[in-house]
Amino acid sequence: MTASAINIVSAQPVPTPATRPHSIAPILTASGISKRFGKLEVLRDVDITLRRGCVTAVVGPNGSGKTTLIKSLLGLVRPDKGHITFDGSDVGPEDVAYRARIGYMPQSARFPEHLTGREVLAMLRDIRQASQDSIDNSLIDLFALEPELDKPLHTLSGGTRQKLNAASAFLFRPDLIVLDEPTAGLDPVASGVLKDKVDAAMAEDVAGLLTSHIVSELEALADDIVFLMEGRVCFAGSVSELKDRAGQNRLDRAIAHLMTNPHS
């Protein structure tokens, strides 16, 4: 039943990264973000700009600071230094309102095990005091989650929970969607649905932030690449600029090249 759902989505002409109209309006800008955990400098003076209608992918080897950067932008990690603005306004350490406009899909989310999917969605709605009709339920339909919503979460499979995760990230029509290894736990059909949803959101001028180790996913979704190496940005620019800089015409080769020669 999901296969037919996909056809509905892909029937619409959805722009791929190469054809997306690149708007320049930034939704989130972070500058000079530094963070150390004890002796370890996890982020060093990182700048990142997320533009509307663009997916920015943060890539880098394991331990390069990708997750810490995302968590800093969301306020889960308190940066030691740095400055964040969201849609033109400064984000202070006590500000939480801007997060109402961010949809976050973590690598693996565990909602309270004994709640049902419907209760989790109601909880997220209660937190934002959002009305029922402002909600984007499309992923729930496309993933065919409706029959799963009344079961306690601990009875659902990992993939189904990850679908619920994805659906909840898009639920409130966010201005910024943050996807941390989004398709890691999803089957190919569901990944396809999610990729189409990301494309559709970009067409509506949503900004995207993505981390992934899957090159085909980066290729399919990313407009811009921010390359982190030991907590430092060693490349920021479009995918084609990255390929030029590395002298490689394939993205996987270009990324591998940067990982082995970060200062080239």
Partner: protein
């Protein structure tokens, strides 16, 4: 009050409570107190003896369950905590919801589990005073050891360390501490020990609760020669209020420390 019942912390608490209650831990806990209180009524004499028997259960079990269940629940809720903090939720509200979601079911489970058998054995009214003191002490111990649990869960990212610290604290306060106090009393038996003993008692919530409860059932003589000092100090109204306040501080201080850490923590 209106912000408390409609505010974001309360809205979150709603879902927290559902989750904890459905986990059946809290219900099992209530049923345990129900069965054991009922059994005490059947196998021992009157209400007074039941309270006396329950005191030991309360002093040993409430700290243990509050610590272990609290720490375990909070480590399980770690990813949920992260997810909530990515929502427009203030850390203060999430903290209160997490703590409230633990305190309310466990305290309520204990209160109902003990009170119901008292009611159906017709002893609730007759032994109202010792029963109420038992309930207050139990609730305060629950609040205090859950506050310590949340402090440990926020302090240690590694759940093995957190659980280990919880068990160590329980073993120390529930078992080892009395031994140390006895040793001090024995070693310095030629000195006037009333004030140091009072201080040592105040430094352990379990000792505080024990003294409060034993005095309430008129067995101060069992406390040995310092019993007289306790009787003099805790036996009157002001002493009881002071002891209760000290027990309350044992809930508030760890809770405040945990809150400060939670608000500044990197998740």
């Amino acid at each position: 009050m209106s912000t408390l019942t409609t505010g974001p912390a309360f809205r979150l608490l709603n879902y927290e409570l559902r989750d904890v209650v459905r986990s059946k831990w809290a219900i099992g806990y209530a049923i345990f107190f129900l069965l054991i209180t009922d059994a005490f009524f059947r196998f021992s004499g009157g209400g007074e003896q039941v309270v006396l028997s329950l005191i030991n259960v309360v002093l040993i079990l409430i700290p243990l369950v509050s610590l272990v269940f609290g720490v375990g629940y909070l480590y399980n809720a770690r990813e949920f905590t992260e997810l909530m903090l990515a929502q427009p939720v203030r850390r203060r509200d999430l903290f209160l919801a997490l703590y409230g979601g633990l305190v309310l079911p466990l305290a309520l489970g204990f209160v109902l589990g003990v009170t119901l058998p008292f009611a159906w054995h017709g002893a609730a009214a007759v032994h109202a005073m010792p029963l109420v003191k038992l309930l207050i002490a139990g609730v305060l111990l629950t609040a205090s050891f859950l506050a310590i649990a949340i402090l440990l869960a926020v302090r240690f990212d590694d759940r093995v360390k957190g659980l280990g610290a919880a068990l160590f604290i329980w073993l120390f306060l529930a078992v080892v501490y009395d031994g140390i106090v006895l040793l001090i009393a024995y070693t310095f038996s030629t000195y006037p020990l009333e004030t140091p003993m009072l201080l040592l008692t105040a430094l352990n919530p379990i000792s505080l609760a024990r003294v409060l409860l034993l005095l309430s059932v008129d067995v101060a003589a069992l406390l040995g020669y310092t019993g007289a000092a306790f009787e003099k100090f805790f036996g009157n109204g002001i002493g009881s209020v002071l002891a209760l306040s000290a027990l309350l501080l044992w809930a508030l201080i760890p809770l405040f420390l945990a809150y400060r850490r939670f608000v500044r923590k990197d998740f």
